[in-house]
Amino acid sequence: MDYSKEEYLRIMELAAEFEQNPNQRLLEGKVVATLFFEPSTRTRLSFETAINRLGGRIIGFSDSNSSSVTKGETLHDTIRMVSNYADLIVMRHPLEGSARYAAEISSVPIINAGDGANQHPTQTLLDMYSIIKTQKTLDNLNIFMVGDLKYGRTVHSLLMAMSQFENPIFNFIAPDELQMPDEYKIHLREQGIRYFEHREFTDFISEADIVYMTRVQKERFSDPIEYEQVKNVYILRNSMLKNTKPNMRILHPLPRVNEIHPDVDKNEKAYYFEQARNGIFTREAIIAHTLNLI
């Protein structure tokens, strides 16, 4: 589930092909199981659209309340059973490491659509596809990450993936309680990658190629007063985009709360809705790559 630089580039290339021609019946006659042990409508619809565009058929469930899991069936037994029915399993599960475990016991490939706070690799790939599409490269980019950098798994995975490419620079903008964890900063230092930390979110994003926004969630704060103080500090407004680079684009994994002001939406640098659309092509690419269909 950890991709090499070459695999990233291969999947990006395939995603670009699917964007040109999204309807290819590569999954004709195949059954794909989408097992969502916790609900995530957005991710599930994206996957199911990708599967449909590839001509595959879908079985599965959209949350564990509607499945035998509520009757106490183990993940082990569910995977053993479903891997006898389907040619591919897409799964989302609240427990960390569940996808790796499932891959060990399944007779068919597993695509991880999120395992708790651990990983969400298809989100990372669609983020990277959005970056390469807008910047024409994954090298020499200045990436600003804003908001919840402590718990946000999307920023962690993106950081790890982008650190495989040439000469990135990272800028972290977060309140004290939600700073980038040490293990990631240690990783960057070991790789000789430059990063800068900021507490304030002001006009200096003029250097940015990518501004990656995340939600600052109330439940992450031990002190509610602290949340009230920061919740309106990390908001991106259209007025802040005046002196930014022409190639700069704003990404967000969605759904947003208030961290991107609606007045940004009409700015051509707002890319988050197209980013979600890129998810379909990226997931088609991941499925094709996983099953060696191309």
Binding site: P94, E96, G97, G116, E183
Partner: protein, 156 residues
């Protein structure tokens, strides 16, 4: 057997003619060592002593197993709970080899992942870790990828 050192060794371990003596086990971990090495399932003769005085450990334990010899991979499994353990391999009442234990690169089973949201703590799964640091111990879970540090370690 006129060599005084050999004689002393012979006396110390004379209870077995062929087998393995595992010395310098922390007394409180004696039964965990027995369980990890699956000595509770063997038919070989085993004797052990617990709460013996030791300069290094305060109170130590010792295990003597007749007619059984261990591979490095097996014996290194006890390194997490008995890092100073020493093995004497006995043939015909003589110590023919001395070995120390080493923390392995990979730890399978034995330790629980500290992360309550890890799949290994919610379903019957054998844990598996990559050893990132040996002293103090830092173990990276193969499943959830979180790091269990020595002070968080719980033996299964």
């Amino acid at each position: 057997m006129n060599d005084p050192i050999k004689k002393k060794l012979k006396l110390k371990v004379s209870a077995i003619s062929e087998g393995t003596v595992i010395d310098h086990i922390p007394a409180e971990n004696l039964f965990k060592v027995i369980s990890i090495l699956e000595l509770d399932k063997t038919h070989n003769m085993i004797t052990f002593g617990a709460n013996l005085d030791s300069d290094k450990l305060g109170r130590k334990a010792i295990i003597k197993v007749s007619n059984q010899f261990f591979e490095d991979d097996d014996i290194n499994r006890i390194a997490l709970i008995a890092p100073h353990a020493k093995l004497n391999i006995i043939r015909d009442y003589e110590v023919v080899e001395k070995r120390i234990v080493e923390v392995p690169e990979q730890v399978v089973g034995i330790v629980k992942c500290f992360n309550p949201k890890c799949i290994t703590n919610n379903e019957a799964i054998t844990t598996s870790f990559t050893v990132l640091h040996k002293e103090p111990l830092a173990l990276k879970c193969k499943y959830c990828e979180k790091i269990t540090h020595e002070h968080q370690m719980v033996i299964k």
